[in-house]
């Protein structure tokens, strides 16, 4: 076991896979020599060479399209889009070309690609660096969507994603890269795609979250227990598509109440889909409507007002109180 932050764990996952499989390639803007703007690929070019880890010209569509072309020939590209707001440039290649390759060809071709991108607020970044765009991805048939919340999951999920024979959109929260260290095995291990994790057990209410919001949910749950004796169960989804609805339903069968927390703006997105599925599968177990805690439906806020905009533990506590008092 080693102590790693999430960025180091992500780098370690790429290192493990570059070593294990000669078809794995890592590329993107500034990922080679300097090791990425967040150093998530630091040292990889030195260890594996320019042939395996390389910089590209500044063009997101071509980065993603290069991955699609190489994927057809059996390479396993790990392509980085420097910041989440720049995926719009690459949407056709990511969400149309890669996501539909297996279907369009009736299984003749596939796209074994991971598109890594940092996202997430709270770091006072410039415009279009921090938006939560997972909602676009989860309504795209053919792509899997992963959002890890801690170093252990990040490494295990990224290894799973690289080994998956279908395209994966892998979102790395900026605020979690260096937030804390945790035990991470140095060897190779996987965390299964599509399996949620109960990070805090409870019996009074279920809080469903992912990414940075897992940590806000745990803070809120700790506070609720300390001040009011309320036992909240916190589920870290880890994968948004495919969604682990069974873990959610099992928790609601126990707690009969739930809220969903997402950093993205409220309309559509992951929370709406999760609530729809709860309606279909667990409505008879609910004592109250399932509420959403989310950003308001504005453009992502200016850096100066980010903290007020982002869902906070206080807003999560308010929502929990509402469903308990319904």
């Amino acid at each position: 076991m080693a102590q790693m932050n999430m960025k180091e764990a992500i780098r370690d996952a790429m290192r493990v896979e570059l070593k294990k499989d000669p078809n794995v390639l890592v590329f993107g803007e500034d990922v080679g020599k300097v090791g990425g703007v967040f150093r998530a690929t630091e040292g990889l070019q030195g260890e594996f060479g320019e042939d395996r880890v390389f910089d590209t010209p500044l063009a997101e569509s071509a980065i993603a399209g290069l991955a699609v072309g190489m994927g057809i020939q059996g390479f396993r590209p790990v392509a980085e889009i420097q910041f989440v707001g720049f995926i719009y440039e690459a949407l056709d290649q990511m969400f149309v070309q890669a996501a539909r390759m297996r279907y369009r060809s009736g299984g003749r071709y596939n796209s074994p690609i991971v598109f890594r991108t940092p996202f997430g607020g709270g770091v006072k970044a410039a415009e279009l660096h921090t938006d939560s765009l997972e909602g676009l991805a989860i309504q795209t048939p053919g792509i899997k969507v992963i959002v890890p919340s801690n170093p252990y999951d990040a490494k295990g999920l990224l290894i799973s994603a690289i080994r998956d024979n279908d395209p994966v959109f892998f979102m790395e929260h900026l605020n979690l890269y260096h937030a804390f260290r945790a035990d991470v095995p140095e060897e190779d291990y996987t965390v299964p795609i599509g399996k949620a994790n109960i990070v805090r057990e409870g019996s009074d209410v279920t809080i469903i979250a992912y990414g940075m919001m897992v940590h806000s949910a745990v803070k809120a749950a700790d506070e609720l227990e300390k001040t009011k004796g309320i036992k909240a169960e916190v589920i870290d989804l880890r994968t948004l598509l495919p969604l682990d609805i069974d873990t959610i339903v099992a928790s609601i069968q126990k707690t009969n109440r739930a809220i969903v927390v997402q950093e993205a703006q409220k309309t559509s997105g992951a929370a709406a889909e999760i609530i729809a599925q709860i309606n279909e599968k667990a409505i008879l177990h609910l004592e109250a409507p399932v509420l959403r805690v989310a950003g308001p439906d504005t453009v992502y806020p200016f850096a100066q007002i980010e903290d007020a905009w982002l869902p906070s533990p206080a807003r999560i506590i308010t929502a929990v109180n509402k469903v308990l008092e319904f």
Partner: protein, 355 residues
Amino acid sequence: MTKVPYEVQTEPVTPLSILSPEGEIINPDLMPELSDDQLKEIMYRMVFTRTWDERAVNLGRQGRLGFYAPVSGQEASMVGSEYALKKEDFVCPGYRDMPQLVWHGLPLYQAFLYSRGHQHGGQIPEDVNVLMPQIIIGAQILHATGLGMAFKKRGEKRVAITYTGDGGSSEGDFYEGLNFAGVFKLPVIYAVQNNGYAITTPFAKQTAAPSIAHKAIAAGIKGVQVDGMDVLAVYKAVADAAERGRNGEGATLIEILTYRFRPHSMADDTTKYRTKDEEAEWALKDPLVRFGKFLEAKGLWSEEDSARVKEEAKATVNEHIKKAEATEKMTVVGLIDSMFETTPQHLEEQKADFE
């Protein structure tokens, strides 16, 4: 006074041409090495493609084909360019480029299934190196770039060729693909079939550049222009580009000047934007007529040969359209199972509604 060269100079380009409209060799030095049998095979494929195109338009009118983009007039461009490739080379087509796929090995009935909107149309046989026709104009240019990168990394002596039209050269992906190929020195051939129109928009409204071939300058790759009604010139340009690619000399942009005798698609009306004079002028450049004259003068082809090939093409089209029509119908469950390698739970559950 010496001119200070701070302004980029672009010389006009003259299209590569080997055959005169009368079918005479005007550039003997550039004549590619092709045996009599190969020359006859090229003619066979062009006549076959013309007949197939005529039949396809009729089948479309009868409702036996769906989406179809006519190709008549572009036979030299399509057949000549594909014939210059090897079987291991990879073709990334646009939506009009079905002939290149079929001559590269895709069974004709699968081309018909693609047109009819059947998934089996995209199930390319294992030994055929092509992608399905690309609807998003420009996307295929990046796939060819990625394939070129794969061939280079594996040290394989293969090239990828991709096709787009004159309108496609205005897309961002077009420039990005050429630029990546320049930076990484990739074995890719970017063939732009400039037929003068993108649906109704004439070439002059796509770009103020002197030619599409000039756009290679922006990417630092080789750019050439070729008479697209001259099959020998098209063959020569692509064969040269393929050789450069295999030798590690990088990518080539080839602008192929051609014309489609028919509408853009079955829903298009050319009378709204083209003149009869223009159409008549291009009809004189018909690639089949020009190459036919060349072969007839050499005693390699006759009117009877053309008639025979037409009958053969009609019979083949009939056979393959019947095979397409007899192909097992798709099911929604089958579509669901083709989304991922392993069907996830939510899709497994959705199958219940269709079983």
